[in-house]
């Protein structure tokens, strides 16, 4: 079939025949999933890092099991497992506390949980590496000045650690963005899935897939601007 540019323009437009609105919605979903799972991953990563470095024996073992398992099993498989078992496990847990059927897990929440759970394992390692690279004298100074643990973390440890972790975290953001496409496997309508549906219905396969690729690239480039800015801010005092 000959590529008909004017037809393609109509198909990606916002008219009754166009897929524009759905594609933008898909992109918005992709960003939502990525951001939410990334934030969950950051939280899990900090907890995991704490468990590995200063938790008790049990916490350390649990964290090790977590990072080993998650990093060894393909993300796609984990998503399928967590998506299909996660909901029923959550229902069962709610049943135990007598809330059966009252709170249910939405598809979005399940997907975010699955992706965030995976990211958290990688974040744990990134944070741990950054933590052990922060200068030891700084922590002692914080203690000697009697900064309470939480303030010490917020004022001193975290900014210094974040600076070292940022290249790794930037990497993980890029991969979170792309990994969000994995949830198309459970039928979630994020950007790639919308593109796939559009492609198969209109038969403009290559064009739609290239368009989706361009949209991913655009999101990634825009987020790079933010990461660069953060990096400059955290590097204050070091250059």
């Amino acid at each position: 079939m000959q590529f008909d540019f004017s037809t393609f323009l109509v198909l990606i437009g916002f008219g009754p025949m166009g897929w524009g609105a759905q594609l933008l919605r898909g992109a918005a979903t992709t960003i939502e999933i990525s951001v939410a799972s990334y934030v969950l991953g950051l939280a899990l990563g900090l907890v995991g890092c704490w468990a590995k470095l200063s938790g008790g024996l049990i916490a350390t073992r649990v964290a090790e099991l977590y990072t080993t398992l998650v990093r060894a099993i393909p993300a796609l498989l984990l998503i399928i497992l967590l998506y299909y078992t996660g909901t029923s496990m959550f229902d069962a847990a709610m049943g135990l506390v007598g809330l059966k059927g009252r709170i249910t897990l939405s598809g979005f929440a399940t997907v975010v949980f699955a992706l965030g759970f995976i990211k958290g394992a990688y974040m744990t390692e990134v944070f741990r590496g950054a933590m052990v690279s922060t200068p030891k004298g700084i922590h002692e100074a914080g203690k000697a000045l009697a900064l309470p643990p939480l303030i010490r973390f917020r004022l001193v440890t975290f900014p210094l650690m974040l600076r070292i972790a940022l290249p790794g975290l930037g990497n993980l953001w890029q991969s979170a963005l792309k990994d969000s496409a994995l949830v198309s496997v459970v039928g979630f309508e994020e950007l790639l899935n919308v593109g796939k549906i559009a492609a198969s219905q209109t038969k403009f396969y290559l064009s739609f897939f290239l368009l989706v690729a361009a949209m991913f690239l655009a999101i990634s480039l825009i987020s790079n601007l933010f990461i660069d800015r953060l990096e400059r801010r955290l590097n204050r005092g070091f250059v």
Partner: protein, 312 residues
């Protein structure tokens, strides 16, 4: 006053500090000196409870430090660590203001205190307040480290090898600054060093530690003239012992009545420097006087030399 009573720290089979007792008088500089691994830093850190003693106790003005909440205790005790420990991502002003902010001082009072401290250490606030530690020289960083420790006006300052990383000239300046600040605020200072020269220069009293034990705790002059047998004797008994002794005494301690010809010497000059002057001038005696006052006393080579050996 700090009373250290039978302080001991053991980790497993190793004894880091072994039954140390000593009293540090308010408003004095006490220097703890010894080879590395002697337990000096451990002793220091047990004072502000960065390390918990295995047994024994520390009393500050009669109060057991274990009865004071950890944060309250440490806000009352400034602590300067080896290599200054400044927060690299915070400005000079931010570093100094750490504890005052924590204590909830208002902005104006914090700013005033930061400026006062920077002035005190001859760092122009307009130029240095917003710089980051990395942009300062080693000597400037060290001064900011001390300023940060002094920010909340502690009565007691602990210093762990504070001048170890400085070159000799800047170190001399830093030591002079420390003495000036100590005089001005009357802060009680406990300082740890492995440098015997520094100990004699700064200490009102010197504690010599080796192998976790306190071997001798005395004034510099006593340490030189009556060193404990063994380690302390070897430590202080070098060939320049008479000169160290001379640098501890002042011209006013050795002057004799009667005028003498020549350029007068100030009575507050130490005897070592006075002897240098006499040797250089090729004189046997020189007049002693403040500035342009008329001399009524003189100092002689033999008078100085008699201070360079233990009293008979």
């Amino acid at each position: 006053m700090i009373a250290i009573e039978h302080l001991t720290k053991r980790i497993g089979e190793t004894t880091l500090v072994d039954d140390v007792s000593m009293v540090v008088d308010t408003g004095t500089i006490t220097v703890v000196v010894g080879t590395s691994g002697a337990g000096k830093s451990t002793l220091l850190r047990m004072i502000n409870r960065l390390i918990t003693p295995t047994s024994g106790r520390v009393l500050i003005d009669g109060q057991d430090t274990m009865d004071i909440p950890e944060d309250r205790l440490r806000h009352r005790i400034g602590y300067v660590i080896q290599g200054n420990g400044l927060f690299p991502h915070r400005t000079v002003a931010g570093n100094i203001a750490t504890v005052p902010r924590l204590l909830g001082w208002d902005q104006k009072r914090i700013r005033r205190r930061v400026e006062e401290l920077l002035d005190l250490f001859q760092l122009d606030p307009a130029e240095f307040a917003n710089k980051f530690p990395r942009h300062l020289s080693g000597g400037q960083q060290q001064r900011v480290g001390v300023a940060r420790a002094l920010a909340a006006e502690p009565r007691l300052l602990l210093m762990d090898e504070p001048f170890g990383a400085l070159d000799p000239i800047i170190r001399g300046k830093a030591q002079a600054d420390l003495i000036a600040i100590q005089r001005r605020f009357g802060t009680t200072i406990v300082l740890v060093t492995h440098d015997m020269e520094e100990a004699f220069h700064l200490g009102d009293r010197i504690a010599v530690m080796n192998d976790a034990q306190l071997l001798q705790y005395d004034t510099p002059a006593q340490l030189l003239t009556r060193p404990a047998a063994g380690f302390v004797e070897r430590l202080v008994g070098s060939s320049d012992r008479p000169f160290r002794l001379l640098s501890l005494a002042k011209v006013r301690d050795a002057m004799e009545p009667g005028d003498a010809p020549g350029e007068p010497i100030d009575p507050d000059v130490n005897l070592r420097d006075a002897l240098s002057r006499l040797i250089w001038a090729g004189a046997d005696r020189l007049p002693v006087a403040h500035g342009n006052d008329t001399a009524t006393a003189h100092i002689s080579v033999s008078g100085i030399l008699s201070h360079g050996r233990p009293p008979q």
